[in-house]
Each structure stands twice: as structure tokens, then as C-alpha cells.
């Protein structure tokens, strides 16, 4: 019998079903129904971790998802999980876990020297210490901080499990299946509405699982069982257990993390996905998320064996695990008295209850006295003893303002302290929904005040802490929510009657005094256990000017650990407000953000965890050929484009050198299918193009093509492409690969909102057509063989025209346009003919040594010609004039989008950043793209930056490096030498024309 603290009383564990597990290398047993935490408690194990900063021994503090201390690494190998709360892990056979944040072991932690040096770990420590020299940030400071801190280790191996995402709609979503949530779901379910009820626990019942309450004269569990049975019988109700609602977003969008197989153990063959993320869109929401008990802040309140009162009650009542042999209770309210009574009934020795209130004369305190428990009022715990386990407390009367000890200290031996500082409604989801909170002076907590969405908050989450209110409010909200969605009459059945014992008022008491002023001796008052923030830290932050709660929070990191301050936020805020001598509501509260509890990356990734389903992938019809022929690919938006085609032994540079030479000397072929294509028709099509492009379109003949720039109204270039006139009222527009969708939205914007009188229809045809670009001096010969019926002579088929015909036996549109500067044809065929045509080109082109080339070679070829790529040479702040392309702007055609902005003072400036070419002093040196430019080599610091390199390549055809850049006043500085800076390296470069190759354009016609 190892479970020395196991009683016969726990209601939710099956002692006959023994489960073996290992914690920190030691073997233990537990019972079916245990959590890892309750099994540890049953074995008397309280020391479960070390604190984050000072590595003080820490014990199990809570019994729920708010746990800050019992953070463990679960299992080893590829299924290992860091940052898991032991209070939420259901015990399974063979479970293995260990503490995090300690080395070499939780019992002997070397970094505990930090705790000796803890005087230097004050608020703002990181900001104050790890400042200079800057060079040490990444090399020294960060690695040290990372090794010391951290909440476990991520597995290096690939995650072997499967995760799912589910999208669903419902009328009423109920979060939390305690008495309020169950009541709400019952009423909403009875109306016939689609209802979802989710709860983070493995079974429904919420607080009723942990306490001994009476409903309709019977144990509350009987009511829970009946409610769950009724809900299970309803087809319109979906019940999710082990499911944390972790995010409440706009328009009742709620995300839920459901752990489906964790309780079977890792890798168990269940046929289920491991976790699911549910995305619910519900018309009405009922939040019944309950409340968290608040710790009291007293001297050395972090020793193992110190536990929240309700956690002790839960371990005893629900799991049959006594938190210790002899415990004292420390409280400022009545609720902890019921804990004392339950623990005495469970067989624990509770000699004393220490109450900060002057008077404790309610029904519960009197009942406790009748059990023989001594009640010390107006008193506090002023010191705790012990190190890896509490061994006793020092108790004294304290002043009611919290400033000092007023009486003699008395020592009480104990191995457990159960504390209650009142209750905080779990308003996290409500706060995420942008609902406004209100501070309740009587209950001393923040409660929901104004809803921002179609939401109702009920029960303890609303500050209604008694059971009858939870049942009544839940039922009323469930019925009303259903009615708002058109189901039921909105009237709830009469709720069952709970046995409610009235509780007397709580007393606000934020910091309990000790022998020395807070922060001036050895004893520490912990506020945030997970980040080791003490009351003294918050007081220091206030003294150093952090008067806003948001500043205090960031400066001290209160509430910024993985528990998001579930236990610490209100205490921290109250201490700050007392320092500032302001009321709590005046100091404000911080905003809670998703996730409510940590969510696994695997679950968030879902089926996309292996990468291939994370985002849609678009492939051209020739993709398979590229793959078979060894192409390297690069993603361009969602498209997978062939990047280069390395032959055996070639790296990218070698492949690109070979490919560029092939195009300049023979014939090359490029898959250009990804270019955006928009079919534009209608009687006003030409008029419309005249408004959206900078150049003139009305007189473009049918059969011709034109290159155009589109501007935004600010005069800045945002897309480019070639558009061809297919018929009088019919155009084929091309856009950049990445800009296609945006251009279509933008065209529609003007058509639908500014010029609805124009009759123009735009249709995306990007995927209807495969585009093959065939270029090089031998391109014409190949085309003549591919399409013997067509005339490819310069006279019959000049540059910037297009012809329709049969190519390789299939109907095609052939465009004579060039992005390389060489003779070039772009052949568009129906998508399903693309691969056929490509293969035919390769077959007939073999005698010309036809060479497939990818995007990298395309970039080099166009840069040799000084052709811009929108988004590379531009960033939305370049006019056509900045790019040296005044010729593309029509002077006489009248208005077009962006034109008026050309005469704005800033746009008309002549010293704007302008596109130029750069060559390096050493022709072999290739500049880094993004390198900053200065006019002078030696500059004052900070040096005035006059531009940056936008494109830079080695040009195999020119045998020197080439670059394009935006340079302030660049057009007036041709021939000048300036300097490029790359992480300390300075390169002398000359400003030249960006057209490096064939400046007269003699190669265009072949």
C-alpha cells in the first residue's frame, strides 16, 4: 500500500482499479479516476516543481486548469509534451512524467542558488541587467536565460499523432458543465435548439463533483447524473468532455480544444484523432465557467503543502486523497469553513482555522467550532516553516489594515496549509468577448457587467456563488437564449431546490504582515507563483513609476506566465491600488487574451501538421514534367513554380549560368502559367482600361498587345502586365502572379462602386490557360515547326501583337511579347493541352538543344534588360517616373486612376528615390539584395540612408555582377560612385542605367 493518504471516501475514483505510474523516476500507484496530481497527493508527494526564477521548491496548489506550480513534462520521445498541468492529466497505466525547470532533480536543484541571490531578481530585473553590451544579447544573455527558464522541452521528433479541426454551427453554446451550465443546457436543449455543452473536465458536474451539496434533499451527484442522462438522450445536443473553450472571438466564434485520447495514454490504438479543435459559430452563448479561488498573500506562502482550500476539499471529496495529516486553514471568508468540515470528516486533523476577520459567527464557522476546531479571528499566518514541505506556521493577531502584527506569535505544527482569499469569477472568456467588467466591492472581485456579444453569463462566473443562484440563473439563461434564436417560449421550468447555507461577508485583506516590512527581510509574499512575482516587486514597480496596471504587469511580468495570472491578477492589482492609494476600479484591470489554457501546436495545425495540408498548393499542368525532370521549386504565393533545372552535379549558380546562356544563344522554354489572367468583355471595356492603366487603350488595334502600369489613387505603381485586344469589346489582361486576386478585386471595386454605368465584365481565367514562354534566337524556327500553318515573320507577326492558330495540333493564342529582351513568344493553350504542348516543344526543340529554365533564370534575364518586377523593385511608394518609365504615362488621354497625384508636391519632387542600375567596383562581387546605400563611405552616425538594392545577380552573359536599386535623386547621379552596406561590409558601386544588356533592343526581333 503506497497510497498512504488515500481514504475510503472519494466519490469519483475506483480504488479497485490500480494504475501504475512513474513520477521523477519513482514508481507509484493510483486509482482509476485520478488525475496525476490527485494520485501524487494520495502518495503524499507535494514537491512537484521549482519556481521559474528563483527555483524555490513548489507544491501542488490547485486541483484544476488554473494550476501554476505542478507543471510537468509528460512522457518521453516523440509524444513527449512540455508545459502540462498535472491537475489536468488523467492517470493511465504506465504514465511517466517529470518536473520541469529543475536540474539535475527537483530535490536537488543547482539553480536554487538563485534563491540566495534573489535580491537581485527584482521587478524589471531583465530590463535592468541584460542591457549592454548589445553584442551579448544573442550570444550570452539569451542562451543563459533560456537554459535557466522554460517549462519543459519540445520533442525533436516528428509528431506521430493525428489532429482534427471541426467547424460547426449551433443556436446555443454553453461553456462549463457545472450546476449553472447543466441547467442552461437542459433548458436550451428542451426547446429543440441545437445546443453544444463543453467542459474541460472528463465528467460533467463542475463544482458539484468536489463538494458535498444537497439538491432536492439528495446528494447533488444524483441531480447531475439525471441531467446528463437527459442531455445524452437529446439528438439536438452535442456534449464535449475534456474540451477547453480557449478562445472567444468576434460574433460568437468560440474555439474549443478537445483532448480525445490523452486519457488512454500515448499511442493507444483508439481509432480517434488525438485532439480536435472545434470552431463554433453560435447564435447565443451562455458562459458558466465558474470561479477560481484566490490565494492569500502571506509570508512564504509558496512552500509545498500550501494549497488552496477548495483544492484540498476536492482532493479529499472527489479523489479520496488527503492533502496531509494535520492542516490549518487560513481564510478571510466563510467558504473555507466547509472545507475544514469536509476534511475533518475525511479523517484529517484540522486543529485551527485562522480568520483575518474580526468576527466569524456565520452558520459555517459555528458548525466548524462544533467539530472541535479552534477558530482564531483577527489573526493571520505571519510566517511558515519548512522547506520542501511546510512543517508549521506562526500565527498572530494582525491589524485590520494589514500594516502590522499586533499580538504575540504562536507556533502551530502542521504539514498542510489550506488558504482562501475569496473567489474570482472565471471571466476570461467574457473578457475575450470584449465584455466590460465591474468591480464588486461586496464580493471583492471583478464580475461581468456589459456584454458585447449575444452572450449571457451565469452562476459563479457572474459572482453568484451559491448553488441555488447557479441553478436558477442557468435555467433562465438557457431558456432565454433558446427563445432568442426562435426556440421555446423563454420560460424555464422551476429549478430544483438546493440546500444553501448563508455565508457572511468576505473581508478584503491583500497582504498579511510579517516580522519585517514587506520586501525588507528574508520572507517573501508570492503573488504570481509561476513568474515568482512578490508583493514587494509590485510595490517596487509602483515606486518606480509603473502606475498603470498594464505597465506594472509588463514590468513585473505578473500574470504573463502560461497560467495567464488566473490566481495572481486580482491580488496584484489590489496591491498596486493600495500602493497608489486609489480604489481598485480606478486602477483598472488587464485584458485576458486567448488561449484560456495552453493549446498544443499539433492541435492548432490539425491535419496540416505534416505541412502539405497547411495551405492550398497550386500547380500548373506541367508540374509533373518539372518534377520528373529534377526541377527545384520555389513557392510564389500558393503556386509551386519551377526555380531551376539542375543537371547532375550542378548547383543553382551552374544551372542558372547554363540556362541563361541557352536562352541568349539558342532557345529556352519557361512555364509562365501562373501569371494572373483576367478576361475582360463588354462595350465599355476599352474605356475602362483607359481609366485603370496609365497609357492609352482606346485605339489599340484588335490583334495587338500593350504593356501597362496600374496605379493606386496616390500615383504609386501597384501592378503591371500585358493586355491584348482579342476583339473590339474583348481583352485578355495579364497581371503579376501574386497580384492577380488583388487586381480583380480592385477592378470590380471601380466597376461596382465608382463607374457602375460602364458595361464591363471581368472573369478570372488564370487557371483556364497554360502559358509557355519560348524565347531565344532560335525561337522562331521552333515555332514554325510547331505551327506550320502560322506565319511567324516579323512583318506578319510583329512585336507586341498576338495571333490565333493551331500549335502542335491544338488551338492556341500566341503572343509576341518578351520579358527577356530576346525574340520570344508566349503560347496560351487550354489548361488540359499544356502538358501536351510542353512535351511537343521539348521533342521538336531537341535539335536546337531547347533548355527549360525556371524563375531564377527568368529573373536574371529580365534584370539584364532592366525590366522591373512589381513588388521587388517597388514597394507601393514608386511612381512610373521614379522607375524611369515616363513613356508609359499618357499625357493627353485625360483622367486615369492616380493621375492627379503626379502633381502633388511630394510626388513631383525630383529627388525621390529612383530606379537605377548598380555595378560593383570589383565586377566579381555580387551585392546583397536589401543592402542599404549611402552617398559617402564615411558617414556621421546615424548615416543618412539614400536607398537600397532591390535586385542583384551574377550575369553570366555579361560576366559581371548586376544590380538594380532605388536611390534618392538617382536619375541625376548617373556615373557617380556610392556605397552599399551589408552587415559591416562596405562595397563601392557605380550608378548606371538599369538596362545592362542590348540597350538598343536589337535582339528583340531575332
Amino acid at each position: 500500500m503506497t497510497e498512504k493518504f488515500r481514504t475510503t471516501q472519494g466519490t469519483r475514483v475506483d480504488r479497485s482499479n490500480v494504475i501504475n505510474f512513474t513520477f521523477n523516476g519513482k514508481s507509484y500507484t493510483g486509482a482509476k479516476g485520478d488525475t496525476l496530481a490527485s494520485a501524487l497527493v494520495a502518495n503524499g508527494v507535494h514537491l512537484v516543481g521549482r519556481s521559474f526564477k528563483t527555483h524555490r521548491p513548489r507544491g501542488i496548489l490547485t486541483a484544476g486548469s488554473e494550476e501554476p506550480n505542478a507543471i510537468i513534462q509528460l512522457e518521453t520521445g516523440p509524444r513527449s509534451e512540455p508545459n502540462v498541468r498535472a491537475t489536468q492529466v488523467e492517470l493511465y497505466e504506465g504514465l511517466t512524467a517529470k518536473s520541469v525547470n529543475c536540474w539535475p532533480s527537483v530535490n536537488f536543484d543547482l539553480a536554487a542558488v538563485n534563491s540566495v541571490a534573489s535580491r537581485i531578481f527584482v521587478a524589471g530585473f531583465y530590463y535592468k541587467t541584460f542591457m549592454d553590451p548589445k553584442s551579448m544579447w544573442m550570444t550570452v544573455y539569451e542562451p543563459i536565460i533560456r537554459r535557466m527558464a522554460g517549462l519543459g522541452v519540445l520533442p525533436r521528433e516528428k509528431d506521430p499523432d493525428t489532429y482534427d479541426h471541426m467547424n460547426e454551427f449551433c443556436e446555443v453554446m454553453v461553456v462549463g458543465a457545472g450546476p449553472a451550465g447543466l441547467s442552461a443546457a437542459l433548458e436550451a436543449g428542451r426547446s429543440g435548439a441545437r445546443v453544444v455543452l463543453c467542459d474541460e473536465q472528463p465528467e460533467f458536474g463542475g463544482s458539484l463533483l468536489n463538494t458535498k451539496q444537497i439538491i432536492d434533499g439528495k446528494p447533488a451527484q444524483e441531480w447531475v447524473d439525471a441531467a446528463v442522462a437527459e442531455l445524452e438522450a437529446m439528438d439536438n445536443v452535442r456534449l464535449l468532455k475534456r474540451a477547453n473553450a480557449f478562445g472567444y472571438y468576434d460574433h460568437n466564434y468560440i474555439t474549443v480544444h478537445e483532448r480525445r485520447t490523452d486519457h488512454f495514454g500515448p499511442g493507444a490504438k483508439s481509432g480517434l484523432s488525438k485532439h480536435r479543435i472545434w470552431h463554433f459559430r453560435s447564435k447565443q452563448v451562455v458562459l458558466a465557467t465558474g470561479s477560481h479561488e484566490r490565494p492569500l498573500v502571506f509570508a512564504d506562502n509558496d512552500r509545498p503543502g500550501i494549497m488552496l482550500a477548495n483544492a484540498g476539499q476536492t482532493y479529499a471529496n472527489r479523489y479520496g486523497a488527503l492533502p496531509g495529516r494535520r492542516g490549518v486553514i487560513f481564510t478571510n471568508n466563510d467558504s473555507a469553513y466547509s472545507v475544514a468540515i469536509d476534511l475533518v470528516d475525511a479523517g484529517m486533523d484540522i486543529p485551527t482555522i485562522i480568520d483575518l476577520r474580526e468576527i466569524a459567527d456565520g452558520d459555517l464557522p459555528n458548525a466548524a467550532r462544533q467539530k472541535g476546531i479552534e477558530v482564531l479571528t483577527g489573526s493571520g499566518i505571519v510566517a511558515t516553516l519548512g522547506r520542501k514541505r511546510v512543517t508549521g506556521v506562526e500565527v498572530a493577531t494582525v491589524s485590520s489594515d494589514g500594516s502590522r502584527i499586533t499580538g504575540n506569535k504562536r507556533k502551530i505544527d502542521c504539514d498542510t496549509i489550506l488558504t482562501s482569499g475569496g473567489w474570482n469569477p472565471a471571466v476570461h472568456l467574457f473578457s475575450q468577448s470584449i465584455g466590460k467588467l465591474r468591480y464588486d466591492e461586496e464580493k471583492i472581485c471583478f464580475v461581468p457587467n456589459i456584454s458585447a456579444q449575444n452572450e449571457r453569463t451565469v452562476g459563479a462566473c457572474k459572482g453568484a456563488f451559491d448553488l441555488q443562484s447557479a441553478l436558477d440563473e442557468g435555467a433562465a439563461a438557457g431558456a432565454a437564449a433558446a427563445k432568442d434564436t426562435g426556440f421555446g417560449k423563454g420560460k424555464a421550468k422551476a429549478s430544483p431546490k438546493a440546500l444553501v447555507i448563508e455565508e457572511k461577508a468576505i473581508k478584503a485583506y491583500w497582504v498579511v504582515p510579517t516580522d519585517h516590512p514587506v520586501g525588507q527581510g528574508k520572507r517573501k509574499h508570492y503573488v504570481d507563483y509561476q513568474h515568482d512575482v512578490t508583493a514587494a516587486d509590485i510595490m517596487l514597480a509602483a515606486r518606480e513609476g509603473m502606475h498603470s496596471v498594464e505597465h506594472m504587469k509588463r514590468y513585473t511580468t505578473t500574470g504573463m506566465a502560461t497560467d495567464q495570472g488566473k490566481l495572481s491578477n486580482v491580488n496584484g492589482l489590489a496591491i498596486l491600488s493600495s500602493q497608489l492609494e486609489k480604489d481598485i476600479p480606478k486602477v483598472g484591470t488587464t485584458t485576458f487574451r486567448p488561449p484560456y489554457t495552453p493549446v498544443n501546436f499539433g492541435a492548432l495545425a490539425g491535419r496540416g501538421i505534416n505541412g502539405d495540408l497547411a495551405d492550398p498548393v497550386r500547380r500548373t499542368s506541367m508540374y509533373g514534367w518539372h518534377l520528373e525532370n529534377g526541377a527545384a521549386f520555389e513557392p510564389v504565393g500558393q503556386w509551386q513554380r519551377a526555380w531551376y533545372y539542375p543537371k547532375a552535379g550542378e548547383d543553382m549558380d551552374a544551372a542558372v549560368t547554363r540556362e541563361t546562356a541557352a536562352l541568349r544563344d539558342g532557345v529556352g522554354i519557361l512555364d509562365a502559367s501562373t501569371l494572373g489572367k483576367i478576361d475582360i468583355q463588354g462595350k465599355d471595356a476599352a474605356k475602362f482600361l483607359n481609366l485603370v492603366y496609365t497609357n492609352a487603350w482606346l485605339k489599340l488595334p484588335v490583334g495587338s498587345c500593350r504593356y501597362g502600369f496600374m496605379l493606386k489613387e496616390d500615383g504609386m505603381v501597384f501592378d503591371d502586365g500585358v493586355t491584348s485586344r482579342l476583339g473590339e469589346n474583348h481583352f485578355h489582361m495579364t497581371t503579376t502572379t501574386g497580384g492577380a486576386a488583388g487586381v480583380l478585386d480592385w477592378l470590380e471595386e471601380y466597376l461596382q462602386t465608382e463607374w457602375p454605368d460602364l458595361e464591363v465584365y471581368c472573369t478570372s481565367v488564370t487557371e483556364e490557360w497554360s502559358t509557355l514562354s519560348i524565347g531565344g534566337p532560335k525561337a522562331r524556327q521552333l515555332l514554325e515547326e510547331l505551327a506550320p500553318e502560322m506565319d511567324f515573320s516579323n512583318e506578319a507577326f510583329p512585336f507586341m501583337t498576338w495571333r490565333e492558330g493551331e500549335v502542335a495540333g491544338v488551338p492556341a493564342r500566341v503572343f509576341r511579347i518578351s520579358f527577356t529582351g530576346d525574340l520570344s513568344y508566349e503560347i496560351n493553350v487550354r489548361n488540359w493541352h499544356g502538358l501536351h504542348l510542353w512535351k511537343k516543344c521539348m521533342e521538336l526543340g531537341e535539335k536546337y538543344d531547347i533548355t527549360p529554365y525556371g524563375t531564377e533564370t527568368m529573373h536574371v534575364l529580365r534584370a539584364e534588360k532592366g525590366f522591373v518586377i512589381i513588388g521587388q523593385e517597388t514597394d507601393g511608394t514608386q511612381t512610373p517616373q521614379d522607375l524611369g518609365m515616363d513613356w508609359i504615362v499618357a499625357k493627353k488621354k485625360g483622367d486615369f486612376i492616380g493621375r492627379r497625384s503626379f502633381t502633388r508636391a511630394d510626388t513631383a519632387r525630383e529627388d525621390r528615390k529612383q530606379l537605377v542600375g548598380l555595378v560593383t567596383e570589383n565586377p566579381k562581387e555580387v551585392l546583397e539584395e536589401g543592402a542599404q546605400l549611402t552617398y559617402e563611405r564615411v558617414n556621421p552616425t546615424p548615416a543618412p540612408m539614400v536607398g537600397h538594392v532591390t535586385s542583384s545577380y551574377w550575369s553570366p552573359n555579361l560576366e559581371h555582377s548586376i544590380a538594380m536599386a532605388l536611390v534618392k535623386d538617382g536619375h541625376n547621379r548617373m556615373g557617380q560612385w556610392i556605397y552599399a552596406h551589408d552587415r559591416g561590409k562596405v562595397t563601392k558601386v557605380k550608378i548606371v542605367s538599369p538596362v545592362f544588356y542590348d540597350p538598343k533592343g536589337e535582339r528583340r526581333d531575332g
Partner: protein
């Protein structure tokens, strides 16, 4: 993530849409006749509304129609959705009092077509 009711397709997730900025700003018919300041007013200046804001959206991954949405920028509550060319009066925000709308400085009329603006949120 917002849940927006396209006037043509019904309720869809925000991911199907793109945002198009403040609504009811009409492109001037004769930009050449405007001063630089007037043109800048059209191109750059927008209200920064705290409260109900009329704005344009396009159902990019659906019917591709542009339409108008009146949205409370404090709560993201959508008060009204209506087609291009319409400008209905707005109902009171349903779940919260409309936040105070800070009036932008009165603008010059930038174009003949520009309707009287800044009545939103009133």
C-alpha cells in the same frame, strides 16, 4: 473572426472577404479642378471612428460583389449590411450603447457627387 452577411450570398466567415476601407467616399469627377489639399482629402483622409463605421467589403471568394457594412468599431457588432448605392439610416446598436463618435473636422465637399458625410453613428 467576423461573421458577415453578404447581401447576395448570406452569412460567411471573414476569410472569404476583403476589407475596402471607409464607405461613401466618392471619387471626384474632375480631379484636375481640385487643389492639392482637396485631392489629398479624397485620397488620404479618413475618419477614425470609435463607434459605428460605414465601410466597404468585397466578397472576394464568393460572388465578388462589393457592398457596405456598418460596424461598431468598439465591439465589432455589425449594425447593418447593404448594397452599393444604398445608404439606409442605421438602427441603434443592439447590445451596447453606440460608443461616442468623435466628429471629424468638417470637410470641404470634395466633389459634386459626394453626399453629406459624417452622419454615421448619429
Amino acid at each position: 473572426m467576423l461573421y458577415i452577411k453578404c447581401p447576395w450570398c448570406g452569412e460567411r466567415d471573414e476569410t472569404e472577404y476583403h476589407y475596402g476601407g471607409e464607405a461613401h467616399i466618392v471619387r471626384p469627377e474632375n480631379p484636375d479642378e481640385l487643389t492639392d489639399a482637396e485631392w489629398a482629402e479624397y485620397v488620404f483622409m479618413r475618419t477614425n471612428t470609435k463607434g459605428v463605421h460605414r465601410e466597404r467589403w468585397v466578397h472576394s471568394d464568393g460572388c465578388r460583389r462589393w457592398f457596405n457594412v456598418a460596424r461598431n468599431t468598439v465591439t465589432n457588432e455589425i449594425v447593418s449590411v447593404y448594397k452599393t448605392g444604398e445608404k439606409p439610416d442605421l438602427p441603434e446598436a443592439a447590445t451596447t450603447k453606440p460608443a461616442q463618435v468623435k466628429k471629424a473636422p468638417a470637410k470641404k465637399a470634395v466633389a459634386k457627387k459626394a453626399p453629406a458625410k459624417k452622419k454615421e453613428g448619429a
